[in-house]
């Protein structure tokens, strides 16, 4: 509710007909909670420039924990001025306050704008305010008003147990927090990064070269700071704050802790190159921030004589580079699984996280003198085949049709019977009989019959089981 509307006599909760009577050219819009939440989130993104701890308080408020941040902007007044000035110029109606606890500050904003409550003055500043400023339930506010308690000071003067008995412990806690007597932890949107470095520009920058150079200088500072504590970054985030308030954050994950500026540079270059919607500088960025949100202690290894370690490092760096461009889930290694079900025998996992585990995995050793028993190419979804010539039970088909081509089996070996893991799934899965077959042209298939003859019963009648091709041998 802005001042202009308040002067006209409009109020929240007023019926539309009454509002039209007061101000005939009022325009009505539907309530859109999703868009409101989006706008609040965007403002929260923008507020990240003041402090890394920004919490949402839907539907209309934000908490900023500015402990230890104010001096970077001059003073608390200066910070408040900058924040409100910028938001107002973007077209928002702002009401802000600074106080010792978040609830206390919120209570202040509900009544006056721009107050800074000194330490220990919370109770005095909040007391004269009306009960509604607390933001408690409508029922509680009404109950208190009926009891003749109009201001927060009135309520605070009563004994706590009386209030708690009638309005609940939650309300007493809220009251104490507003009075600065109890601490209310805020719930920040993002975890606090381990390291943050940032660069503010006096004049917005828009060219790629300048942005890259700034990022590179930030990386150097970040690496220098981390190096002193023996840390390396596993996850890096670069945030670009546009002058018009839009914030774009780009994250890069690595498999091994990064300790080199060139590596960080290269990873971000790959990532920025591959963005589906490229970084749009608009009228320019006025702040670029680089933060290491996950770090690890770096173990220094002897490198010069041990070629093996160096090779592992190079492979890990290559995986990071490719993953930065196409995504970590697209670069995979496989881990063996303890199961007989062919499609579950190996588990694809992201290489960045599991390279070390994969290089030590114990795979089943092939039997010497035997031809391959498992196909080289395995269909994720076994493909049904049409068996043209029925065979005696427990033998593979003579002729079958797969992908509209007919094949005649000239050699076959099997069955290799694989029972499904009944202890894992709730519904019964039929036993599979696998056959290795070769057709007249030399194509080698891995076929299976899903279920034994007479095992599958549908509507009281035994149906003949289906055949599938599950893989292809070289």
């Amino acid at each position: 509710m802005d001042d202009h509307a308040a002067r006209l006599g409009l109020d929240a909760g007023l019926p539309l007909a009454n509002a039209r009577a007061i101000c005939p050219d009022v325009e009505a819009f539907d309530d859109d909670p999703v868009a409101d939440a989006q706008a609040l989130n965007a403002i929260a993104d923008w507020c990240d420039r003041f402090t890394p701890l920004v919490a949402l308080d839907p539907p209309h408020s934000l908490f900023l924990d500015i402990t230890g941040c104010a001096h970077l902007f001059g003073s608390e007044e200066r910070l408040l001025q900058m924040l409100c000035g910028a938001l107002t110029s973007q077209g928002f109606a702002v009401s802000a306050a600074i106080a010792g606890t978040s609830i206390s500050a919120r209570t202040m904003t509900r009544h006056v704008h721009g107050r800074i409550v000194g330490e220990g003055d919370e109770a005095d500043s909040v007391s004269p305010l009306p009960i509604s400023a607390l933001g408690a339930d409508e029922a509680i506010t009404r109950g208190l008003r009926r009891a003749g308690l109009k201001s927060i000071g009135d309520v605070a003067s009563r004994a706590r147990h009386e209030i708690a008995a009638r309005f609940g412990a939650d309300f007493t806690a809220l009251l104490e927090q507003a009075l600065g007597q109890g601490e209310a932890p805020i719930n920040p949107r993002k975890p606090l990064p381990d390291y943050i470095v940032e660069k503010r520009f006096a004049e917005p920058v828009a060219t790629d070269g300048v942005i890259a150079a700034a990022l590179s200088r930030l990386a150097a500072t970040l690496v220098g700071t981390m190096d002193k504590q023996g840390k390396g970054a596993r996850r890096l985030e670069a945030s670009f704050f546009r002058t018009d308030g839009v914030v774009r954050t780009i994250a890069v994950d690595t498999g091994q802790p990064v300790t080199r500026v060139e590596t960080i540079d290269r990873l971000f270059r790959e990532r920025l190159d591959a963005l589906a919607d490229p970084l749009d500088p608009g009228f320019g960025f006025d702040l670029v921030r680089l933060s290491a949100s996950r770090t690890e202690i770096v173990v220094q290894q002897q490198r010069d004589l041990d070629a093996h370690v160096q090779h592992d490092d190079e492979l890990a760096a290559l995986i990071d580079r490719i993953a930065a461009r196409i995504g970590g889930r697209r670069v995979i290694v496989h881990l063996p699984q303890d199961t007989h079900v062919p499609e579950r025998a190996s588990l694809p996992v992201p290489a960045q996280q599991h390279l070390a585990a994969a290089s030590l995995a114990a795979w089943p050793v092939p039997v010497e003198g035997e031809p391959p028993l498992r196909p080289l190419r395995l269909f994720e979804r076994p493909e049904p085949i049409e068996v043209l010539l029925a065979e005696v039970p427990d033998r593979p088909p003579r002729h079958f049709k797969w992908r509209r081509a007919a094949h005649t089996v000239v050699r076959a070996e099997g069955p290799e019977r694989i029972a499904m893991e009944w202890w894992r799934s709730s519904e019964a899965m039929p036993t599979r009989d696998y056959f290795r077959v070769e057709d007249e042209g030399g194509l080698r298939f891995w076929l299976y019959r899903d279920g034994l003859y007479g095992e599958i019963v549908r509507e009281g009648e035994a149906v003949s089981p289906n055949w599938f091709v599950h893989g292809l041998f070289a």
């Binding site: 010069d304 070629a307 160096q310 090779h311 592992d312 190079e314 492979l315 760096a317 290559l318 995986i319 580079r321 490719i322 461009r325 196409i326 697209r330 670069v331 995979i332 290694v333 496989h334 063996p336 062919p342 025998a345 190996s346 694809p348 390279l355 994969a358 290089s359 995995a361 795979w363 089943p364 092939p366 010497e368 003198g369 035997e370 031809p371 391959p372 028993l373 498992r374 196909p375 080289l376 190419r377 395995l378 269909f379 994720e380 979804r381 081509a405 000239v410 050699r411 070996e413 290795r436 070769e438 007249e440 042209g441 030399g442 194509l443 080698r444 893989g471 292809l472 041998f473 070289a474």
Partner: protein, 260 residues
């Protein structure tokens, strides 16, 4: 100063590894094991070059087996990066690690990159080729494509030459086109030799249709999983036992027992 020293060390290290690898010849060629093919290739498949393998869609598994064999011969015990497209999994099946390990490729050293399209795949391969810790890079491209033109192929060749990593291109369901490849093969499955009890080892009908430094040829090869070598298919598949030289007369019939 530091850079030069590191580079020299890396070179020396590379040389030592090459000597240690043994069967990967110092001449920069890896013998396949098939005598005639090796003769045509002048000792084996050139390292640090690009080799193409083409096949029809239905012979994709055979071509995959052939390229897995090449990668094993070329890469020895070094990591392998296999770049493939997503929809190749649906068309001709995902690469099964169980099958790979039976052919002799080590799943612990195999990293798979799943690219969405040809362009991404080519870029990832170029990146991988520049990393000299690898033994080989396999790039699997499904179907005809315009993106893989002479420029792209030249780029891969140059990168491979600089780093010494061999570039193997698997072109499924595609027809050969001009490129800068060192060799070009067309592969299809061949029938297992008759009268062999343990049938099913990869037997491949391979046609060498381009060879920059030698003749072309057409051979039927068998991949020996235990030795990790290509071999000629046995011409006389029925093994003939040698006649007993110093045996006395045959033992009487009633003394014969059968085990099992």
């Amino acid at each position: 100063m530091m850079g030069a020293r590191t580079r020299m060390l890396a070179e020396l290290r590379g040389n030592i590894e090459r000597i240690e690898a043994g069967d990967v010849a110092a001449s920069g060629r890896a013998a396949l094991g098939h005598a005639e093919a090796d003769a045509a290739l002048q000792g084996g498949l050139a390292l640090g070059a690009m080799h193409e393998v083409f096949s029809e869609a239905r012979h994709s598994a055979a071509a995959t087996g052939f390229i897995a064999g090449l990668a094993r011969r070329v890469g020895a015990r070094r990591p392998l990066v296999w770049v493939r497209q997503d929809f190749a999994d649906i068309e001709s099946g995902a690469l099964s690690m169980g099958g790979c390990s039976e052919l002799g490729l080590d799943p612990r050293l195999t990293v798979i990159v799943r690219a969405t399209d040809v362009e991404t795949a080519l870029r990832a391969s170029a990146d991988a080729l520049a990393c000299d810790a690898l033994g080989a890079v396999v790039t699997e491209i499904w179907g005809e494509t315009r993106q893989f033109d002479l420029v792209a192929s030249r780029k891969l060749t140059l990168t491979a030459r600089t780093s010494g990593v061999t570039c193997l291109l698997l072109r499924l369901a595609a027809a050969p086109q001009p490129s800068t490849a060192e060799t070009r093969w067309i592969v299809q499955a061949a029938r297992s030799p008759p009268h062999v009890e343990a049938w099913g080892a990869p037997v491949l009908d391979t046609r060498l249709v381009r060879n920059r430094h030698g003749p072309v040829g057409h051979w039927i090869m068998e991949w020996k999983c235990d030795e990790c070598l290509f071999r000629e298919t046995p011409a006389h598949p029925e093994p003939v036992a040698a006649a007993p030289a110093d045996r006395p007369h045959q033992a009487p019939a009633f003394a014969q027992r059968r085990a099992g």
